[in-house]
């Protein structure tokens, strides 16, 4: 019997991608590394013969990952996560909308679409609040706004940028939380790990990419429930769900479609990559069985 082959679509090989490849091989599968930067994909092909039928999407560039995912899907290749999931997770405005629509607690958010209306959005939330770009990660351009003067300066700075995305103002209430948030990793129908992320000493942002540290966090049934509901709301797959604690309740503020897990791995004995690989192989097996059944019919 042929070994199952799973593609790993990357544009930069980090620890996570090496770990996924290693775990695939440990489970007797082949990992085919696919450099997204080097793909040339004729859209009139019926399928891309060199690409396996199931691919784990691991691009660090959101737009590259999203567009190559939709191209693969159009040619019958299944990618985890799907382009639909990536789009919902990669755009904070869409994420907020889908969380609210599904009744999942999330910070109060107001959005405005010009510098002229931005101050009104900020005043609607009140001070302190947080301004975020709708696309972006690692805490970039996430700014706490504590007074009107800061708000005016930020609006002016954004207005002068050539990028039209800078005049979409996504304003969120600042949650009164402990100096930490919770990163949960959902794989299919399971929450495989939950860790606290503490901000570095000189920062209020908890991103591990900015020097935040992790500690184990007990997965309560309430936490598991809200994480799985958030994961399902965006379409499911392999997701990093970020949760804040607010006066005894959980609030989901972000769902990450291409989750980094090096930081979380330091706080758990379980191999996060192995759980991701197990999930991918189970989907690959289902696809292979379906293909065999339809071939027999």
């Amino acid at each position: 019997m042929n070994k199952p082959t799973i593609g790993i679509l990357y544009d930069r090989i980090r620890w996570e991608e090496k770990e996924l490849a290693s775990r695939l091989e440990s489970r007797g599968a082949l990992a085919q590394m696919i450099d997204a930067k080097m793909q040339v994909l004729p859209l009139d092909s019926s399928r891309f013969d060199s690409i396996p039928e199931l691919v784990l999407g691991r691009c660090v560039s959101y737009y590259r990952g999203l567009n190559i995912a939709s191209t693969f899907e159009a040619h019958g290749i299944r990618i985890i996560n799907s382009s639909e999931v990536l789009e919902l997770c990669g755009n904070k405005l869409l994420t907020s909308q889908i969380l609210s629509k599904n009744g999942i607690a999330t910070p109060k958010t107001v959005v405005a679409f010009s510098s002229e209306s931005a101050m009104q959005a900020i005043e609607t939330i009140g001070f302190p609040c947080v301004m975020k770009p709708i696309v972006g990660s690692w805490g970039r351009q996430v700014v706490p706004i504590r007074d009107r003067e800061t708000a005016e300066a930020l609006i002016e700075m954004r207005e002068q940028q050539a990028d039209s995305m800078q005049t979409i103002f996504y304003i969120q209430e600042m949650i009164k939380r402990p100096p930490r948030d919770i990163r949960c990793i959902a794989v299919g129908d399971d929450v495989v790990t939950s860790v606290y992320r503490y901000a570095a000493d000189d920062s209020w942002k908890t991103n591990v990419a900015l020097g935040g540290r992790t500690e184990p966090c007990r997965l309560t049934s309430e936490l598991e429930d809200i994480v799985l509901r958030a994961a399902r709301a965006v379409g499911g797959g392999i997701l990093g769900v970020d949760v804040m604690e607010r006066e005894g309740e959980y609030v989901v503020h972000e769902v990450n479609g291409t989750v980094e897990f090096k930081g979380a791995q330091t706080s758990t004995d379980l191999s996060i990559a192995d759980r991701m690989v197990e999930y991918a192989l189970s989907l690959e097996q289902i696809s292979a069985e379906k293909a065999a059944t339809s071939a027999q019919a």
Binding site: I13, Y62, N256, T258
Partner: protein
């Protein structure tokens, strides 16, 4: 294995378990490189992409 930094000509050490696509940095000037090819004890590197606005999770 070693490669030469394209900026400052310093030696950039490549670990034996390196894979194509991995990022290595020049110890002298800090320039980032991507491992482009590996084989028979030789390695080639190319300038790595710089961080873009849409990079992340």
């Amino acid at each position: 294995m070693e490669a030469k930094c394209l900026e400052c000509d310093a030696s950039v050490k490549i670990e034996v378990d390196a894979v194509i696509g991995e990022i290595v940095s020049c110890p002298d000037c800090g320039a980032d490189y991507e491992v482009a090819s590996l084989g028979n004890g030789t390695v080639t590197i190319k300038t790595a992409e710089s961080v873009k606005e849409d990079w992340g999770e």
